[in-house]
Amino acid sequence: MTTTTRSLARARKGVGPGGASGPAGTARKQSTLSRQTGRTFAFLILPSVLLLLLINGYPLIYAGIQALHNGNLLDTGAFVGLDNFSSVLSSEPFWKAARFTLVFTLVGVFGSWLIGLALALVLRTKIPANGLFKVLLLLPWVVPIVVSSTAWNWLTATPTSPVPALFNALGLGTPLFLADPTLAAITVCLFKVWISFPFMMMMISSALASVDNTVYEASSMDGASKWQQFTQITLPLISRSTYISWILMTIFCVNDFPTIYLLTGGGPVDATTSLVVLAYRMVFQNFQTGPGVAIAFLMTMTLVIVSVVLYRQIRKSSTE
C-alpha cells in the first residue's frame, strides 16, 4: 500500500533533485543545480515524449481528421463533417456491437473477479503444494491468446470436437459452441474469463498478503461467522485492489481484439462482434475508413473521459 500511495502522490510530492529540499546549499548553488536538473530531466524524458507523439499523438489527430472524411486507406477523401458519426450512431450493427461489448465486458470483469477471488481465498489457506498451484493457475494469462484460442477451437468448434462429444455422451445433445449465435457469445465470454481470472487472482492475492492473520483469529474468537469475516474484513481490506482491477479489466475487455477475433471472427451472424472487431472489419475488410475510425474515435473519447475521472478518484483515494 505504501508503494501505491507513493507512486500516485509521486507527481505532487516535492522530492527530487529539483525540489526545494531543506536548507542545504546557498541560493546560487541551488539554482544552478536545479537548472542543470531541469535540462537533464528534459533530456531523459525526451525519447519517451517523441515516441508517444509518433505512436499515439499523431495517429489520434489523424484519426480525428479521417473520421470527418469519407476516404479509404489510400485517400483521405472528401470532407463530410459529422456524417460518419451520425451514420454510425444510427446503424444497427453499431448498437449490436455495443451491446455485445457491454455483455462481454460485464461477464469478463465480474466472472473473472469472482473466480479469481475464490481461488485467491482458497490459496491463502494452508494447503499442500500451494505455491505450485499459484504458478500453474497463472498460465492462462501467460500463454499467448493465439495458442489458447487454437486449443479452445479444437475443443469446441465442430460437432465431433471433445466438448460437444462429451455433452452428447451425457445425453445433452450436440451443442454447436461456435456456430450457434447465443452459444458462441457465451463461449467467447467464458474464454475471456478463462484468460483473465489469473490477473484477478494475483491482484487479490497480493492485497490479501498484507492482511494480518490475527485479525481473523481474533474475530472468530469474537464469534464472527466465516461469512461475516468475508464481508466485514476481507472485502473492505481488498476494496482498493478490487476497484483498480475492475477498472483495468474493463479497459482490457473493451479494447480486446484477439480473444474474440481468433475464436469466432466476430460471427456467427455478427453475434460476437464487439466494437473493436467492427471497427477493424470496416477499415480492413470493407475499406470504409471513415465510419471505422469514427467508431474507434467514439470508443477513444469515452475511454479518455472515463480514465481521467477514474485516475482522479484513484489518486484521491490513495492520499486519504
Partner: protein, 297 residues
C-alpha cells in the same frame, strides 16, 4: 478498517473462555478442510489447464497419415520445420520482441526516473497522459499508422511493427519504472551529488544499478506484449517471410482440413518462450503491469 480494529481489541476477552478440550477436534476439522480444499483446487487446476495440456499432447500425437508407431512422435515438429517457414517466424518473433524489450526499457527507465523524482504541473500532467494512453484501443492508432508507414515502406516490415510495439509498451513501462524508482531512497542520490556526481551520472550509476527487479518486471511486461500481439501483426504483416509466430499459427487455418498436429507443434513453439520467462523470472512477474504499480505490493 474500524471493524477490524474493533474486533481485534475485543478478542482477548473472548479468548479466555475458549474450551481446551475441543482443540484436537478443531485440528481434525482443519485437517479435513485442508484436504478438501486441496482436492477442490486440484480439480479446478486440472480443468483450467485442459486447453494447455491439449496443445502439448496434440503436438506430440502422430497425424492421420503418420508412420509413427505408438502415441508419441516428434514428426509434427520435423514436418513444420521442413515444410513451413516456422524457423523464420520464430526468428522474426524473437527479433521484434527482444528489440522491443531493449528499446522500451531504455526509453522508459529515464522517463520513469523523471516521473518519480520530478515535480510540478508538467510532470503530473505527463503521468496522467500516460494513464489515459494505456486505456486507449490500439485500433485507433493502427489505421493512421498504417497509412503513414505505407508511405515510408514500413508496412510488411519488422521495423514497422517493432516501432509500434515500443510505442504501445511505453506508457505502462514508464509507470512501472517510476513505481520502482519510488521505492529507492533518494538519500542514495543525494550522497552521490555531494560527491560531485551529476544528476545524469547518479541516475545511471546509483539508481539504475539498484533497479534490476524493476527493470526485469518492465522487461517481462514488454516481452509478453510484443510476443503475444496479434492485432498489429495482422494489420501490418502481409507476406509469409515477414510473419511473426502468431500470424504463422493462423496460416494453418486457411487450409481446408486443419492439420492439428502441425498447428499445435507451432503453437507449442510459440508457447515455450513466455512460459520459460515466466518460470524463470516468476518473482518479477507483475500482472497487468500498471495494475501492479497502481495496487502496490
Amino acid at each position: 478498517m474500524s471493524t477490524v480494529l474493533h474486533t481485534h481489541q475485543a478478542a482477548p476477552a473472548a479468548a479466555t473462555g475458549g474450551p481446551a478440550k475441543s482443540r484436537s477436534a478443531v485440528a481434525d476439522a482443519g485437517n479435513r478442510g485442508r484436504w478438501w480444499r486441496f482436492t477442490l483446487i486440484l480439480a479446478v487446476t486440472a480443468v483450467v489447464l485442459i486447453p494447455i495440456m491439449v496443445t502439448v499432447a496434440l503436438a506430440f500425437t502422430p497425424g492421420a497419415n503418420s508412420t509413427a508407431t505408438g502415441g508419441f512422435t516428434l514428426e509434427n515438429f520435423s514436418t513444420v520445420f521442413e515444410k513451413t517457414l516456422v524457423g523464420t517466424w520464430l526468428q522474426n518473433s524473437l527479433i521484434t520482441t527482444l528489440t522491443t524489450v531493449l528499446v522500451s526499457v531504455a526509453v522508459a527507465a529515464p522517463a520513469g526516473y523523471v516521473l518519480s523524482r520530478g515535480r510540478g504541473k508538467l510532470v503530473s500532467g505527463y503521468s496522467l497522459l500516460l494513464f489515459v494512453i494505456q486505456s486507449l484501443p490500439i485500433i485507433t492508432s493502427v489505421v493512421p499508422l498504417f497509412i503513414l508507414f505505407a508511405g515510408m515502406g514500413l508496412v510488411d516490415n519488422l521495423v514497422g511493427i517493432t516501432i509500434i510495439y515500443v510505442g504501445s509498451t511505453m506508457s505502462v513501462a514508464t509507470w512501472m519504472m517510476a513505481a520502482y524508482f519510488d521505492s529507492i531512497p533518494i538519500s542514495l542520490e543525494e550522497a552521490s551529488w555531494i560527491d560531485g556526481c551529476s544528476v545524469f551520472g547518479s541516475f545511471t550509476r546509483v539508481v539504475l544499478r539498484n533497479s534490476l527487479p524493476g527493470i526485469l518486471s518492465t522487461a517481462i511486461f514488454s516481452f509478453l506484449l510484443a510476443w503475444n500481439d496479434y492485432l498489429v501483426a495482422v494489420v501490418f504483416l502481409r507476406s509469409n517471410e515477414t510473419f511473426t509466430l502468431p500470424m504463422g499459427v493462423q496460416t494453418f487455418f486457411q487450409q481446408n482440413a486443419t492439420d492439428w498436429g502441425s498447428v499445435m507443434a507451432v503453437a507449442l513453439v510459440m508457447m515455450i518462450p513466455p512460459v520459460l520467462v515466466f518460470a524463470g523470472l516468476n518473482k518479477y512477474f507483475s500482472v497487468g503491469g500498471i495494475g501492479g504499480s497502481l495496487a502496490g505490493q
